[in-house]
Amino acid sequence: MEFLGYERPDGSVGVRNHVAVISSGRCANEMAATIADAVRGAVPILHTHPCVRLKEDNERALRTLAGIGSNPNVAAAIVVGVGCENPTPNQIAEEIAKSKKPVETLAIMGSNGFQEVMDRGLATARRMASQASQIQRKPFALSHLTLGVKCGASNATSGILGNPVTGQVFDRLIAEGGTAIFSETTEVIGADHLLVKRAVNKEVARKFREMVDRHEAMIEATGEDIRGSQPTGGNIKGGLTTIEEKSLGALAKTGSSPLQGALEYAEKPKANGLFFMDGTAMTGELIAGVAAAGAQIHIYNLGGGLTSSFRCLPGWAGGLPIIPEIVVVSNPSQPRDSQEKECFDIYADTIIENKETVAQVADRLFQEVIATASGKLTKQEMRSGYRELLVLYTTGPIL
């Protein structure tokens, strides 16, 4: 099977064709937004990373921002900064350049001032957008696709409806030679022994185990009991009793393929197949990490209840403008109001109503993935221009 995508110089294939204007630090957000907003085809990557972080967090920020710039959905990138950020605009641009796509740096330091940088930025963005617009979509095998997944507003229906549906889509894409990434380290605690069994070799199992233990130790070091936060009050109200139950339900979205590797946050997989990525359950952080790892499409599995009543509002924080997000909802409130009827991409509650099986809904989602990869806009992409600042994954303090 094939989809229509944009070929990139490094052999990867984009499903979107953006010019990314990436802020290297929060001081440069306004500059990046002003340039991107003035040029059709350009999107700003804005975030909260300050320069006052420790080495590990700065390195992770570099990997994340460079990874987003290297994502196949990005045709060309401009990295904007004052020049004194950590990571610097040059460091980010050098990493993006490894993907062989056009990338330029704009820094106020060493320039003739703000206005000169802005003018140069606008001219560069227009030139890049013009070049990008001349790239035509071509057919490519599904093996070029990488999917990410996250579940939210989990209730007992996520684990028996939406997540098994996504699991079947993961299995099917992997059977076609594609790649799928799941994360949320907290959520695998309680079901980690099952993933260890699915690891392709001892080294993968060891690395996965190490990441889970590291995450648990980090939580325990705060003196807090994880049971206090997982499952959340909303989860319990939805029918989830223990962290194990939530984790097993979450695990259903990984399908049944062997685990090919355990990635650090924002690390790119070096092979195809199913990968775990260390990361938090915070939507924005997770999508950024998965996009930095090269995923072109993200699947968001909503259980229902509270979050489905957010309707078309981007109430769940952190959609990333460069990767389309397909939202699957297992259990919208009944009766659905006029907005709930049309603000999600895939409704899985037909399984509750005895109208469809898990396999039939999975087939619809698989077709939706191919259509989205070929250019169909998702509901999320058609929403308002409201955007959130990306919060990058950090483990250390702000200095």
Binding site: N155, A156, T157, G159, I160, P164, I189, G190, A191, L194, R227, I236, G238, G239, T241, T242, I243, E244, E245, L248, G249, A252, N331, I352, N354, T357, V358
Partner: protein
């Protein structure tokens, strides 16, 4: 008839696909179809669990064919199963028992 999904054949719980009342006869279904009928003893909200067999205090609670916790009291077939009669098996102290 109202339904509840028993995901794995070994499970001792099923997840309600409707709001179920006490004393109702319901159909148990697997992912591929109906697997039987039973009656409930207590009300079980949609998406919550009920016991499909008697479970003794300290016994494993099974869903997905895996352990999701331990019974903190005797649970009868048809009872509502949730935080009032189940606790995580990952509790400190329960870890050894597992």
């Amino acid at each position: 008839m109202k339904r509840a999904m028993k995901i794995d054949p070994n499970d001792n719980t099923a997840t309600a696909l409707n709001d179920i009342e006490a004393g109702e006869t319901i159909r148990l279904v697997s992912k591929s179809g109906p697997v039987g009928e039973m009656s409930t003893k207590q009300a079980v909200p949609f998406g919550h669990k009920l016991a499909v067999s008697d479970i003794k205090k300290g016994e494993k609670i099974l869903k997905y064919g895996e352990v999701i916790g331990m019974a903190t009291q005797q649970i009868s077939k048809g009872d509502y199963v949730h935080t009032h009669n189940v606790e995580s098996a990952l509790l400190p102290g329960a870890k050894e028992a597992k």
